[in-house]
Amino acid sequence: MSHERYEMVVGLEVHVQLKTRTKAFCGCSADFGAPPNVNTCPVCLALPGALPVLNEHAVELAVRAALGLGCKIDPVSVFARKNYFYPDLPKGYQISQFDQPLATGGSVVIGKTEKGSDIRIGVTRLHMEEDAGKSIHDRYPGATAIDLNRAGVPLIEVVSEPDIRSAAGAGAYLRTVKQILQYLDVSDVSMEEGSLRVDANISVRPPGQAKLGTKTEVKNMNSFSAVEKALESEFVRQCALIDAGGRVEQQTLLWDGAREAVRPSRTKEGSHDYRYFPEPDLRPLMLDEKWIDDARKKLPELPDARKKRLAAEFPISPAEIEQLTVSPALAEYFEAVARASSDGKAAYNWVMGEVQATIRASGEDISRFRVRPADLAQLLSLVRDGTISHTAAKRVFAQMVETGKPAAQVAADEGLLQVGDEDAIAGWVDEVLKEHPEEANRYLSGEKKLQGVLVGFVMKKSKGRADPKRVNQLLSVRGG
């Protein structure tokens, strides 16, 4: 296998659409999904005489993202024009940042080594830029349609150091970056809607060699797993090429998801000279230290901090914490339930169990889930103080999802309040023993393992209302 004789070296460029109401340099809506060319104006159509004006909110979000990724914000950054001709690039240049980006020198931790130290991936730079429009080649025969709704939408580009050594590492890096950006609430980070896009630079070299091999750039991956597959595939291709005595050629490749292979891009890289120069229509972006400090102070809690805090606060395992903190909304939901019910373990079980199952089935967003954390906490309290049984609780929960009514009311309406009353339970036990003489006789003559079956009969008879603890106690007494 080539894998042992070569090491994979990967750097990723992640383009993230910022969650602004309007575009980066004009007042047009930045919403996804409008009819073609509706969200356009003289500025983003590049009509003669129109000028860009920087969206302040985009700067705030970009700075927040940069701080969250551990970058240093440069108090002076400069917008630059990246010049190239393409029909979906109205101005003939993209406003980006080049030699003076917004932020540099960040890093993220994507996991631990076997020895337990952090695996840290460097973030070379983070800069602001605008998106291009969309070319639609397959809609009209013999023609290309242009939709400029996306032209001018604000993006950040996060460029990693070539610190990634495996396809799995690339996946971990992407999930970590995505999670951080989600926690920062700067983007929808959805690959489906195009608000997160990834280009990968990959080269191979013998382990221990310091010099980097010739890299290729792989584009057109539409999911994190596609990135991993594409890297794996390109790694194998490069290794085989070198083993056969060939040389890797610097080029841009497109990932073909259907064929699970890369193919050369139609545009020839290297023939591109973007002729960058400072954008004269915008002044240098100057951010004062105090403003940056304020932004830093206002940063929301990041995933690592939240994990540490949850571990200290609730009796749940690291693996469980990982599950709960995948998205900030889920973590917040859990925390609210755990705090209100004072039962972290039960909160974990319910949130990762019934709640996740329900929203996964409905495709709902947890932040808009009908059963609010306080409602779920109430349900958990009813279970804990024995007002309803665990079995009944699941039915109550289903009703809560259905009707939006509070737990106590559902339990009462449905007659699911647990009965702890000795006489009632004794009555149900007697009836069960009478109705199932065979099991009763075997149990009473010492076959203890039948107790569970009998408890089940009692619970069924009581429609889940009997307190199983009491039922067990009573049966034990009868069975001697």
Binding site: G49, N83, P87
Partner: protein
């Protein structure tokens, strides 16, 4: 005051007559079109107008008339006809920049400068001819044929705002808007015997001005007199949120009638954070008493680089006479040096084409304007459209600009030119911080030349030799008629520090008054 001598009236006089009800906007607009017909502003004659719509202008005039009758605030340009260079986006009339590539293009939005003029009661008479995309010094580079100089139809009117200068010189409008990148307002103003002002970079919004070289472009005003130019600039100056490079420095009142009692003197009210403050305080003599036009205490610098031995002796004489008149108004003339001036033309012809090559990329045949299908796919369409759409000079500059920005050449050309540009600006800073209030130079090395006389592009570029430094440094400058050389008008240039248009106009008013009839002799 009567509309019969319309061509002799200043903008302020027209506006006050209109506001007083002595003259109607309909009369002034008709007088303007009458004059245009008399003089032959159309394509077969002087070729001043590219697009005019008398009907639309008259209905605009009727609107203004209603505002007058309703005693609404019609503004300081009430009923004043104005001509607009064809690279400033206007509603209703096309905006073609003198280029085939924009033939028939009508902008769906209006430039801020035009909106402000109209808000002050001005009426748009026509869009005027120009060198294609403002690239040229003679208006010969227009795709729609050259404009002729109304003072001598064999000669060029200068450029690139040749149509606007000619419109004012011909008495069609008292004020016209032009645009500058390297002298395109001052040079044609000088050639046509009128006043042309290029404000400080950032003083006037560029929103709606079709970009040539964004870091140098600035809308300027051409007026029959200094007062016309001052009034026009006052109306269009000031911050605009649509242009990030426009300055929020206060706009003082520039007109003589109120000079000396500046209600909103920017020099005292300037926001400490603005550009103006960062470049250091401007040395300003105490304001003169109200209405006073003397220049007591004003120091005027005479840079030796602008009076080379090679300068035409008649031109030299006319300049010396102007300097004498400034002296007679009480000014002190001091010999100074702007040592980097000789580098201005090379620097300009690197930076301006570099920016132009990028600014003109949007004319690609995809969304508007000319599209020529070649049958050779997308790239073929680009090539055919741009080859047919752009003229020779524009193509030359796009190629030049593309070259200087290319990988491997950027540092040697663009970057170095930027560094020299800073040195040129430093020259002006040094002079203005040494107690000099204004600089006087000839506007051009020669008067207007015959149409077709200059075919070498570099020789044409040298027309800008005295004007381009102000664009590179971003300082304001004005050209005022100071006499005739071989019976053709020439201009004297007054340059002041950033945002000191107030000081610039003060000297210009005084010079105009001191020269009197000599200005046109």
């Amino acid at each position: 005051m009567s509309v019969d001598n319309y061509t002799q009236l200043g903008a302020a006089a027209i506006a006050s007559s209109v506001r007083a009800g002595d003259m109607s906007p309909t009369e002034t607009i008709r007088a303007s079109f009458k004059r245009a017909n008399e003089i032959g502003a159309g394509p077969d004659q002087l070729n001043i107008f590219l697009h005019a719509n008398e009907k639309a202008s008259v209905s605009e005039a009727e609107e203004i008339q209603k505002r007058v009758e309703n005693a609404a605030d019609v503004g300081v340009l009430a009923g004043v006809p104005i001509a607009i260079k064809d690279n400033i986006a206007s509603l209703g009339l096309p905006t073609t920049c003198g280029s085939r590539i924009l033939t028939g293009y009508v902008s769906p939005f209006e430039a801020t400068a035009i909106t402000r003029l109209r808000a002050n009661g001005a009426m748009i008479v026509a869009k005027t001819n120009m060198d294609e995309f403002a690239m040229g010094s003679s208006t010969e580079n227009s795709a729609f044929g050259p404009t002729r100089n109304p003072l001598d139809v064999r000669c060029v009117p200068g450029g690139s705002s040749g149509g606007s200068a000619a419109a004012v010189a011909a008495g069609i409008t008292p004020i016209a808007l032009g645009s500058e990148t390297g002298g395109s307002v001052r040079q044609p103003a000088a050639f046509c015997g009128v006043v042309g002002v290029k404000p400080t970079y950032g003083r006037v919004s560029r929103y709606g001005l079709v970009a040539f070289a964004s870091s140098l472009d600035q809308i300027g005003v051409i007026g029959r007199t200094v007062d016309d130019a001052a009034l026009g600039l006052e109306c269009i100056a000031g911050f605009d949120k649509m242009d990030s490079t426009s300055s929020d420095a206060d706009v003082p009142i520039y007109r003589l009638a109120v000079l000396g009692k500046p209600a909103r003197d920017a020099r005292d009210a300037r926001d400490p954070d603005t550009e103006a403050m960062r470049i250091g305080r401007i040395p300003v003599p105490p304001p003169p008493p109200p209405g006073e036009t003397t220049l007591r205490g004003v120091v005027i610098g005479k840079p030796k680089e602008y009076f080379p031995d090679s300068l035409d002796t008649t031109m030299k004489d006319v300049c010396e006479r102007a300097l004498d008149r400034l002296r007679s108004m009480g000014a002190t003339i001091r010999d100074i040096s702007l040592p980097q001036s000789s580098l201005a033309i090379p620097v300009y012809y690197i930076l301006a084409p570099a920016e132009a090559s990028s600014n003109l990329a949007r004319f690609d045949g995809v969304r508007y304007g000319l599209r020529v299908e070649s049958g050779k796919g997308l790239k073929g369409m680009y090539e055919a459209t741009r080859s047919e759409g752009f003229g020779r000079e524009v193509t030359r500059r796009i190629l030049l600009g593309t070259y200087v920005l290319s990988a491997g050449y950027y540092d040697a050309y663009y970057k170095k030119a930027q560094a020299v540009r800073t040195l040129i600006a430093d020259d002006f800073r040094a002079v203005f911080s040494s107690g000099v209030h204004a600089i006087f130079t000839p506007t051009t090395p020669t008067p207007a030349f015959p149409i077709g006389a200059i075919s070498d592009p570099y020789e044409m570029y040298l027309n800008d030799i005295f004007t381009v430094t102000a664009n590179l440094a971003g300082v304001p400058a004005i050209s005022v008629p100071i006499g005739r050389v071989r019976r053709l008008p020439v201009g004297g240039q007054i340059i002041t520090a950033h945002f000191d248009e107030y000081g610039m106009f003060r000297v210009a008013y005084a010079l105009e008054a001191a020269l009197g009839k000599e200005a046109h002799q």
